[in-house]
Symmetry: D2
Subunit: 313 residues, 4 copies
């Protein structure tokens, strides 16, 4: 049995990605062998491949990229008690952050950099570094949970108290985090405003539960429009995933004491008068870095969307 593995020979662009054929690794004590079925890509993976993601990288020259996988546990090592052979699981982005606050040490245990990632047919992970996913999800769907969904979950349920039918969430664009945030906020009863440069994508967002829509190409002062839509109140929770320059408008879109969730591995850039906007608005800004296993368990507990929609009938 062989194992096809992608490795990065040089962090200088996609042409340095090498497909190798290797032995299937053996899980040690407390470890599991994961047969990867699907891997989801994040902008961070691109940054690692091109060398502009902050170092260190373990084993430069042959790093296995990517952090977000879904697959089957096909073998377990000794002393494994928490998962079983045959279970369908996701990888955890942070292999050591299970609950409570993120620690500096955890930053060195993220898949795809610094430590080896999941872009292979078989990878070995600690039993604590994987989590079962709901039955109604396919491998492809589940592979999107570890970073995109969990980040959105933290920003909509953990670092905000603005949850419920009296609250409005604004989410920016139609990337992975934003689309998850839209759906999660909707499930919690929030009114959801979404922005995009494409009316087509906004139409798709409507199907997913968004209530209000702003095409920021047509309405560059989208923060003012958002306040207007929301009876002038200001937004309770802003999912800020823009590049440089957006954060100022996000702060102005938010209501007094509103939350602004700063998300994502971002390109460099400058912002103007950010602190002044915060002062006048009594802003609460939160830096969001994916999430821990406990949050993942909470997120998974939402159950079958089928059941959910029946429940709300």
């Amino acid at each position: 049995m062989s194992n096809r593995v992608w490795r990065i020979a040089k962090h200088e662009g996609i042409e340095n990605l090498r497909l190798t054929t290797e032995d299937v690794p053996k899980p040690g004590p407390g470890q599991v062998l994961l047969r990867v079925r699907a891997v989801a890509l994040n902008y961070r993976d691109w940054a690692v491949l091109n060398g502009f993601y902050p170092r260190p990288y373990a084993e430069e020259g042959r790093l296995i990229p990517c952090s977000d996988a879904a697959g089957d546990i096909v073998e377990i090592g000794e002393e494994v008690t928490k998962v079983k052979k045959g279970q369908r699981v996701c990888s955890l982005f942070f292999q050591t952050w299970f609950k409570g606050e993120l620690e500096e040490e955890d930053m060195l245990q993220t898949l795809g950099a610094p430590i080896h990632g999941v872009l292979a047919q078989y990878v070995v992970l600690n039993q604590d570094g994987v989590i079962q996913f709901p039955d109604f999800l396919s491998y492809e769907e589940a592979a999107t949970l570890p970073c995109a969904a969990l980040t959105a979950w933290q920003a909509t349920y953990v670092t905000t108290r603005h949850v419920g039918p009296h609250c409005t969430t604004l989410t920016q664009g139609t990337g992975g985090v934003s689309i998850f945030a839209l759906q999660f906020a909707h499930l919690g009863g929030n009114r959801v405003i979404i922005t995009s440069s494409s009316d087509e994508k906004l139409a798709k967002a409507k199907e997913l539960g968004a209530d209000d829509f702003i095409n920021y190409r047509k309405t560059p002062e989208w923060h003012q429009e958002a306040r207007k839509i929301n009876d002038g109140r200001g937004i309770d929770n802003v999912i800020e995933i823009g590049g440089p320059g957006t954060i100022n408008k996000s702060l102005l879109a938010a209501k007094k004491y509103g939350d602004v969730q700063a998300i994502g591995f971002r390109t460099e850039g400058t912002d103007t008068n950010v602190a002044t906007a915060m002062v006048y608005n009594c802003s609460q800004v939160h830096g969001i870095f994916v999430g821990n296993k406990k949050m993942f368990e909470d997120m998974n507990r939402q159950g079958n969307p089928q059941a959910q929609s029946e429940a709300s009938d």
Copy 2:
């Protein structure tokens, strides 16, 4: 134009309630004249009528009872800027608690005792002591908001962080607070377990959105059943409205760090080992006393149930 008014001649039972005919009062500066269209009754009103609600009562011998009214503003005094003639409003239980924390002074400004209540055709209230209610509610429906709904709102959205599709709320019985709590928790995506001694009432609760049902007559150890239903997890938020004796089971039903919301004007009684249950369970117990105007505004923002159900399709 005359004004029919109910007053309590002696706090010794319902036979001491007197219907009098009086002049319609004039609103002073900052005041409004409310044409009462509906009044909702609470157990507290019974306690006042029978003299076992804690004194003082303003004007003993002719107190106007009841706190929860809905009606029309038919006249406004000078300097009234916040409401208009013709608006449909509810009375506030606390006439002076608008935001932030409840103060001792506010305890002396509650309608129906100590100060005069709303069981009359016309009453004068401060402009700050009323609040508009949503258009889709009738007077009868709106009259139930000031105590029952607002208490339930505080217990499901203010004194808990357990809101969302990953959380379970348990609510006791089918009284006003419980039925509101069921619906509010449901709107926030929570799974809702309800208890009752009547299967018929449980069936009605199902129509209102409850997910799971325990007949506590048939299942006296309802707290164990609740944990079982909820995958053994323990309940995130318990709406504790029972008489003496229930609180211990509520504490045992709750998950570690779960919230238990102590609610209601209660009959006297004893509980056993309450503190011990709290310690083992890392409980968070909150005393709930209706709510302030800011919470009422949040509650009202839920909008039309019609719109709501469309949103969740």
Copy 3:
């Protein structure tokens, strides 16, 4: 009896400040006449005088400047129940923000702009717009409380949970807010690091209770030095009062989940990669806008510094 009053004829520099002699105003119902004994100046007053503080200004052409006064109540209007003639009081910066969250309407009720300020011998204020100050303070001392002290109080006790002997506070420079923050944090048992460009001022800060000192002229990478002093842990609470450019270093000085308190009416400017720093650090950034009357009451409750130092012997 006459009243000398300073008014701003044009918002174009200090030469437009006019001293006029006027009648002493009469307090109306619910109002008090304050004999001003001391006025403290803030950078904001300079901005108003020079017209770069955001408008509107009430009565442009004759605005009375300044917000922070201490004095005596020399006359009270009808219906005044909360204060008495003869009491020594401070003005409140926000004349209508008493408790709970700041509202948009409160922004229009700040002394010295938009509404008339306190740079006069006699001013009339609402009884709710003043607050008694502790006996052991002089008028000059008390006049510094309404903005500088209250802002520092909010940033050290309200918008942070990092209070106690296990926590470290870093405060920037030796301006009013910073010096108050140093002393307040010290009273709560926090270790305090202070930065300044002057060794002399740092020596003075040591007398006031600071534990560690960084001359940021000698050590431009003060954020790294702060972490080093604090055993590499990162700072629990950073009082960010710098101009543009500081906030990035503040974010890097803070520990994961540390609080950064964005304070002050600031000059314009740009910051680089602010959001990225937040994400990696799980930052919690809070915009601080002075504070409400309830916070002022809490702050005043600290009692006599004499008693305080006895208590800690």
Copy 4:
């Protein structure tokens, strides 16, 4: 080298405690050998010895009792990276609760029951199950940290926001938790009221930093006295360690929204109208079960009391 070990032959009283001589155990991978130098006793140990502490007990018939030890690491197993030979450490009461929330599984990993305790010359513990203590503490002093001090720490710094010179803490009696709570609250600038039945003990509490004193034998209505001492305000944080019956008075002593910390393994008993007191007082009651390792690290960071007193000069 031999190892003297105390074991409980039957959970039926102190005469069943047996001193045995055994081999010194060997630390396995990730484990350390602790040379115990001091053990502190808790009421819980008595309950285990007498069989009224909730079961299960591991190895009934030969359980090693007690949870709180201080000693030296004299040998380390393979793969031990977090501690070193020669370090002075305490045992952790919860051997598996390091951060975040307590889980059900952690309840089965507490020293002295269910799992074996520390009343022996040598015990083996996981490297994560011990924590270094500050240099200025003796073994005897350090042995009191794992339960008594950590419980007090959680109740004064973790489950309350009432920390600082504007807050008042009331602590009951002069047992271990109470005496620690007094000192911790004092370090955070809180005013401290302590109750006792002995004037002598109150005098001793004064030396430790308490500000106000109530002899509850002489003043049975100590809750009213506490409010009076505190300007009628009500107490911000009540450390409730009484037996049954105290909690009601604690609830009445607390200010509106005040915290009541329910602490301790308690004798059985009943309380009257507990929930009613909570409702009127908007109480926040927290069950406290010792604490996690992260809290222990925070507690240890207070540093040398010498340094502390210098800092406050």
